[in-house]
Symmetry: C2
Subunit: 162 residues, 2 copies
DNA sequence: TTGCCATCTGCGACCTGTTCGCAACTGAGT
DNA sequence: ACTCAGTTGCGAACAGGTCGCAGATGGCAA
């Protein structure tokens, strides 16, 4: 099942690449696989690290070039995750259901959120403005439930000691 | 009217800074004013250029430090605008009504979009997950209405010549 | 199956956007 | 006015990402 899924996705990636005059190379295949199997958002160095398990000579520049191509084809999405760790970017394979990302600015956990209202909102924007939508990125930042509680406790301590 | 608005906002900025142990300096005041008067999203070098009209010796590093402080206080927001021009960031003063940004990846025009559904969606996320929401950034990319039409024409040309 | 060539890769140098360390300066409380 | 923690200008440094090039390789045609 999982294999079949990957094969079918791979074939479609190959086709999509060809439609844009691009080739399916070993490097691009491995990089796309890494992202599809990860499920999670990875940064470029992490993609490199994982891809090198299968392709030891792979270079970071190639990873960036592949990510760029896959992004243009809409196969992967680029995220910032509120820049909680430097100014780098994160990448993840696009799935059928688009989701949002909430990043806790205290513990740095990233939560993936789905809400049908997101689809509704996107649809409304497209139909109202006549846009062709290719990417939609909703990123949220703040405190997660746990950290909201912890921050409240700390706030009281600080107030008491003052 | 405009002046009064600025004065009131400035006082509140000063207060907010003080609550965090920060001072209202000439530099921060000018930088905050530039952003509030611009209305539009500006990148750091553009903020520097405009602020230097009032404060010629201002340094880019100071601009970055001020933007960082104002961002932490929630007075301004940081945007990527789909990185249509390099990897820099854009900044804008936060207003009462949060809005979304659609960037045309062909002509690079940025459209600001408001939709009450955005507020609803944010509210729903907060209430469902117990998050404390501090920043919400919805960035969209694709083709604007004009460019969608142009791309269609070009697509036909290409198909005909092939 | 081989040959061909446009596309792609590894590599290191490079570039852009942002941050840092430090000495001098300054806002704002007393 | 005095004080001093917080701030600034400055240049050097840093991180993330891009580029140019020479050699390798996909994948089409014969």
């Amino acid at each position: 099942m999982v294999l079949a899924k990957h094969l079918s996705q791979r074939r479609s990636v190959t086709t999509q690449l060809r439609e844009h005059g691009l080739r399916m190379t070993r490097q691009r295949r491995v990089i796309a696989d890494v992202l599809q199997q990860a499920g999670e958002h990875l940064d470029a160095p992490e993609v490199l690290r994982r891809a090198r398990l299968q392709l030891p000579g792979l270079h970071l520049a190639t990873v960036y070039r592949a990510l760029e191509s896959l992004k243009k084809l809409g196969i992967i999405d680029e995220l910032d995750l509120m820049h909680v760790n430097g100014h780098g970017h994160y990448y993840e394979a696009r799935t059928s259901k688009d989701h949002m990302h909430f990043t806790c600015q205290r513990c740095r956990t990233v939560f993936e959120i789905q809400d049908p209202l997101f689809e509704t909102l996107k649809g409304q924007i497209v139909s109202r403005h006549g846009f062709t939508l290719r990417v939609a990125r909703l990123e949220l930042g703040g405190y997660c439930e746990k950290c909201t509680a912890k921050a409240k406790v700390e706030g009281k301590k600080q107030a008491a000691s003052a």
